[in-house]
């Protein structure tokens, strides 16, 4: 029994320690070292094989120069701010698009709901890369959208949407929409309709009944949906690099280029550590919201 229990806990525990936690230690260590023209391209400032003198050397040389560099070069803090801005705007847009869909799904006849659910989940199972790729053909200058608008006579010159932040907003809203719809739908579906009937009996208009009852009751779903879009959107790489062009600055792309093009591993690691610190706050808030919802359900 005891051996069985130990393996059961030990194997997944050890796996995650070695392949999840230890790598973070390594990122942190490399973010404190100096870049060098070597393979691997950094000089280790912490050498544990030298034992205690190695640690002492490390502490003596310890400087946060890569982090200082991040604050000095405008590229980095602009990229962080721009990621936050793009993620915030896209989350808001996804909420505006997703809420009416989730609301209508919850209002639909109950025999239709599983089918509607399936239709929302289906794109989520399709390749993320392909769903982003689909928009290149639509948004480019000779793309389908411009062709349609020109043919309709709404515009006379093609619109430049590709390679602008607008294309990134569209891409994020499109790919993450199921994450916004599903939690909101889950709260709306459970809602007690008699509350609405009572409000209407008491003379509420349907619109004000919505704002007084439905909207506040779906709050936990809205919060969950917003975090599920916001958190991955901040570190997004694929969407800005395929749709955003060179004009759109996002930190995931900066990290990628720092690593693959500039081969500056210490700075790439420092970028990653700062990104993590930024993400800790929304992640903790999200966790709190989930716990509160679970308590309310129990």
């Amino acid at each position: 029994m005891n051996i069985g229990r130990h393996t059961l806990i030990g194997v997944p525990y050890l796996w995650l320690l070695l392949l999840f936690l230890v790598p973070f230690g390594i990122i942190f260590k490399i973010s404190l070292s100096d870049i060098a023209l070597a393979i691997p391209p950094y000089t280790p400032s912490l050498d544990l094989s030298e034992g205690w003198p190695g640690v002492r050397d490390f502490l003596r040389q310890l400087d946060f120069e890569n982090y200082v560099f991040l604050t000095e070069d405008a590229l980095y803090w602009k990229a962080y701010l721009s990621s936050l801005k793009i993620a915030t705007i896209s989350t808001f847009l996804a909420l505006c698009v997703g809420y009416p869909i989730a609301y209508a799904m919850a209002r639909a006849a109950s025999e239709w709901r599983p089918t509607l659910m399936m239709l929302v989940i289906l794109p989520f199972w399709t390749s993320f890369l392909i769903r982003v790729y689909a928009w290149i053909g639509i948004l480019s200058t000779e793309g389908y959208l411009n062709q349609l608008l020109l043919w309709l006579g709404i515009i006379t010159d093609p619109l430049q949407i590709m390679n602008t932040p607008t294309a990134v907003y569209i891409g994020i809203v499109y790919t993450y929409l199921p994450f916004m719809i599903l939690p909101i739908y889950a709260t709306l579906e459970r809602m007690d309709d008699s509350l609405l009937e009572a409000a209407e009996d008491l003379g509420c208009s349907r619109l004000s009944a919505f704002w007084i009852i439905t909207f506040p009751l779906s709050r936990s779903g809205i919060i969950a949906g917003c975090f599920l879009v916001f958190i991955p959107a901040i570190g997004e790489f694929v969407i800005p690099s395929l749709l955003g062009g060179s004009g759109t600055l996002m930190i995931g792309k900066v990290l990628w280029e720092e690593f693959f093009s500039n081969r500056d591993w210490p700075v790439a690691s420092a970028v990653a550590i700062v990104l993590l610190l930024i993400l800790v706050i929304p992640i903790i808030l999200f966790q709190k919201n989930q716990e509160k919802t679970q308590e309310a359900d129990a």
Binding site: M1, G4, L8, I9, V11, P12, Y13, W15, L16, L19, F20, F24, I26, I27, P40, V97, P100, Y103, A104, M105, A106, R107, A108, P114, T115, M118, L122, P123, W125, T126, S127, F128, L129, I130, A134, I136, G137, I138, S140, E142, Y144, Q147, Y174, L177, I231, P232, I234, G235, E236, V238, L242, G252, W265, A268, S269, A272, L275, L276, F286, Q287
Partner: protein, 272 residues
């Protein structure tokens, strides 16, 4: 009674149009004769032929399927173990850290996960290739499996397991003959999720693949960067087709099962 207004109908129509029109366009134009993707020049299956003759794509697809199969299978075993520990394990040392490590990868930006694993592989001197992609994919997808399986473990009645133990089953037998069949749908769903995540992953695979192995998303990404291409449209259509058949079948099966259960319950009610 819930009212379904014209407003609801419009938002459903527009919403699903937004979700599906881009994919439909992709599928339609994969049958376009012209290499200029945005100009329709007549029906043709020419790009499917070119795709199937492109050895680099076929090799990448084969690597991707192998990686996805192996990593999702290991991830399902580890993830189910982790879920069981979290839900039934009781207290043990480092439990908080354990559950933190299960949930953190779910919200971790892919660029960070990829970078950290790459730095790990380099610092322990592991050659990058298919093996390292499998390790990386297993690590993040086992967390998804564990979340799916633990939500099922939480919801079912524990007394059946206890009954098996009281009747003399060893804990392992009780798990095999009682718990496992009960959580099987969640385990299968977890495996499918892990498989899809692995098939789909570009960022983590790019970091951990190294020059010797190329997966399908890496191949797609490098050719998509040059712009729209008809071969990629054909490939997308094939992938969309597979997913659609899979999801529709799964939902029909689960619908049948629900209907069957309702009928059984009714029968049981009549005999009682």
């Amino acid at each position: 009674m819930r009212r379904f207004s014209w407003f609801n109908a419009t938002s459903l129509t527009l919403g699903f149009a937004f979700l599906y029109v881009p994919m439909i366009i992709l599928v339609v134009y994969s049958f376009n004769e012209s290499r200029l993707v945005t100009v329709w020049a007549g029906f043709s299956t020419r790009w499917y032929g070119e795709l199937l003759r492109d050895q680099a794509f076929l090799d990448a697809a084969w690597v991707t399927v192998r990686v996805a199969f192996v990593s999702s299978t290991i991830a399902t075993v580890l993830g189910t173990m982790a879920a069981y520990v979290l839900v039934r394990g009781g207290k043990f040392m480092g439990r908080t850290l354990f559950s933190g490590m299960i949930y953190a990868p779910l919200v971790m930006p892919e660029v960070i996960t990829g970078l950290s694993l790459l730095l790990l592989f380099i610092s322990i001197g592991l050659d990058r290739g298919i093996f390292t992609i499998i390790l990386a994919h297993t690590t993040f997808s086992m967390c998804y499996v564990s979340v799916v399986v633990s939500s099922r473990l939480v919801s079912f009645d524990r007394s059946v397991e206890e009954a098996a133990l009281d009747l003399g089953c060893t804990p392992f037998d009780a798990f095999r003959s009682v718990t496992l069949p009960l959580i099987a749908p969640a385990v299968i769903a977890g495996w499918l999720l892990a498989f899809t995540l692995s098939l789909d992953d570009l960022v983590i695979a790019s970091f951990t693949a190294g020059p010797s192995a190329t997966t399908l998303p890496i191949k797609i990404f490098s050719s998509v960067r040059m712009g729209v291409s008809p071969e990629i449209n054909a490939l997308s259509t094939i992938l969309i087709g597979i997913v659609t058949v899979g999801v529709v079948t799964a939902s029909l099966v689960s619908k049948r099962r629900i209907v069957q259960r309702e009928r059984d319950e009714k029968m049981a009610g009549q005999t009682a």
